[in-house]
């Protein structure tokens, strides 16, 4: 009686879930195509979006013939002049942002192309907005280095008058436009995690480029 009422239903459901998962894994494994080392259609589209062409690009390989990777970078594509980084970043969902960050010959960001996006439809997917993506153009490695401000000071919250709020806002806009030191991210309303994920991807690309230029050659 107890078994039939309390144990059996969840047990059956668990079994159904397990079997379904197993089938899903099997189907995924059976149909998986290894695209390592191949410039896929998605990468081609991404490259075209950033540079206008993809034909001359080649994937950088290590000496032993394996694809060259960096921390967070899946593959690096180069045509000798420009370098693009294929990156999977975490947005609101883990690994939800599969992007191509294209740098120009000086190592500053030329453009960002989203290849696949697994974020919340309508919210996280708002980062595909060109206005949002365009803010990354021209960002340099130096701008993305976080300046360590030390111990965060606990700020005291206060009410202000309309005039005080307006003047503070103006002041902040001024410092934002004048500071070339740090890049400030304008997040998309309702898509904070996805916006930050996109910025993380850009930072990863710039850091990898810096490492390549500084270390390898």
């Amino acid at each position: 009686m107890f078994f039939k009422e309390k144990i059996k239903p969840p047990l059956v459901l668990t079994l159904i879930c397990l079997i379904t998962c197993g089938l899903l894994v099997a189907a995924y494994e059976a149909t998986y195509v290894d695209t390592t080392g191949i410039i896929t259609d998605k990468l081609q589209t991404g490259l075209t979006e950033v540079y206008g062409h993809f034909e001359d690009f080649e994937m950088l390989l290590n000496d032993d013939g394996t694809v060259r990777t960096y921390d967070g970078v899946t593959s690096i594509l180069s045509d000798g002049k420009y370098t693009a980084f294929e990156i999977t970043a975490d947005g609101y969902s883990k690994g939800g942002l599969h992007v191509l960050v294209g740098l120009d010959e000086n190592g500053t960001v030329k453009g960002v192309s989203i290849m696949t996006i697994g974020e919340t439809p309508g919210l996280g997917t708002k980062v595909q907005n060109t206005d949002f993506l365009n803010q990354f153009s021209g960002v340099t490695y130096e701008q993305t280095i976080e300046t360590d401000s030390g111990e965060p000071v606990k700020a005291k919250s206060v009410w202000g008058s309309r005039a005080e709020i307006q003047s503070l806002k103006r002041e902040q806009e001024l410092t934002d436009t004048n500071s070339s030191v740090n890049f400030t991210l304008d997040t998309v309303t309702g898509a904070t995690f996805s916006s930050k994920g996109m910025y993380d991807a850009v930072k990863t690309a710039l850091a990898a480029y810096n490492q390549m230029e500084g270390g390898a050659e």
Binding site: Y92, T120, P121, G122, L123, K126, V153, K154, A155, K156, S157, V158, W159, G160, S161, R162, E164, I165, L168, K169, E171, Q172, T189, G190, T192, F193
Partner: protein
Amino acid sequence: MNGLFVSPSPHRATSMSTARIMLLVIIALLPSAVAGCVFFGPSAAAVFAVCVISCVVFEALSRKIMKREQTVSDLSAVVTGLLLGMNLPATTPLYIAVIGSFIAIVIVKQLFGGIGQNFANPAIAARVVLMLSFADSMTTWVVPYWYTDVVDVTTGATPLTASWLNYSEGGAEYKMAPFTLGEMLWGETGGCIGETCAIALIAGGIFLIITKIISAATPVAFIGSFALLTFIYTGSAVETVYGILAGGLLIGAFFMATDYATTPVTTKGKIIFGIGCGLMTFIIRNFGSFPEGVSFAILLMNLLTPYIDKLTLTKPFGAKMPEKPAKSEGKE
């Protein structure tokens, strides 16, 4: 309902009918609805009109199609329409408002048997569905008086999405609220049409408590638990008051977490319900990816209501709880 039915005591006839209760709720909602129309202009009024009319039409049609007794005259569809309209941004495309009304009245209310039978607050459920389906339109916020020529920007941040302004003075760090206390109370901020005017919402809520339409237990527990948690988390009275006045907390606590059909019956249950709403709103606002969590909190607690009711069942005076069937007899 024409047949005879048995209901628990006390059996007392009062002049309070569903229509009268709904009428008082409408009166309580009017000040904030009017404030919303003043701040957000003709398009807000249009959203209200479309929501109310389509809710009433859907109610009448579904009762007719289902060959049930007509319930339009109990005014509950008008309340649902009004509440739905108050929970939408002023620039919501009108067809979305119609879809929302359909979800509220047909799917959430009538398919489950009509007034009193719905498992969730129709307006809340509709708002959540619209929020997830039309995220773009549902998160576009116009600034107050955007329809006049006085302001040059039309969209802006709401109290929940605007960032606080940092500044230092005399070696100390300060964080200034992006809206003044007056603006927050009066409601001259961005947001859903009917959620911004705190004074009108509080007045409406107090009116409903005084006329005994709603019990003070839920709103007090909801706002109180949210305030306590926010104060512990931020350590700031300013941020606590700001959090209470911002977003849909007041309209939710007074008008939607007090819905008869979808919230617990007993006072103990109402307090548990209110605390649950406050806790979830606090968690979603501070740690979730959505800026606002009131509608999700109320919807989730709506689903828990049957369990809360079961747990807080009042024991009739002098009665014995039914004993569990003895497992074995005569063991001694």
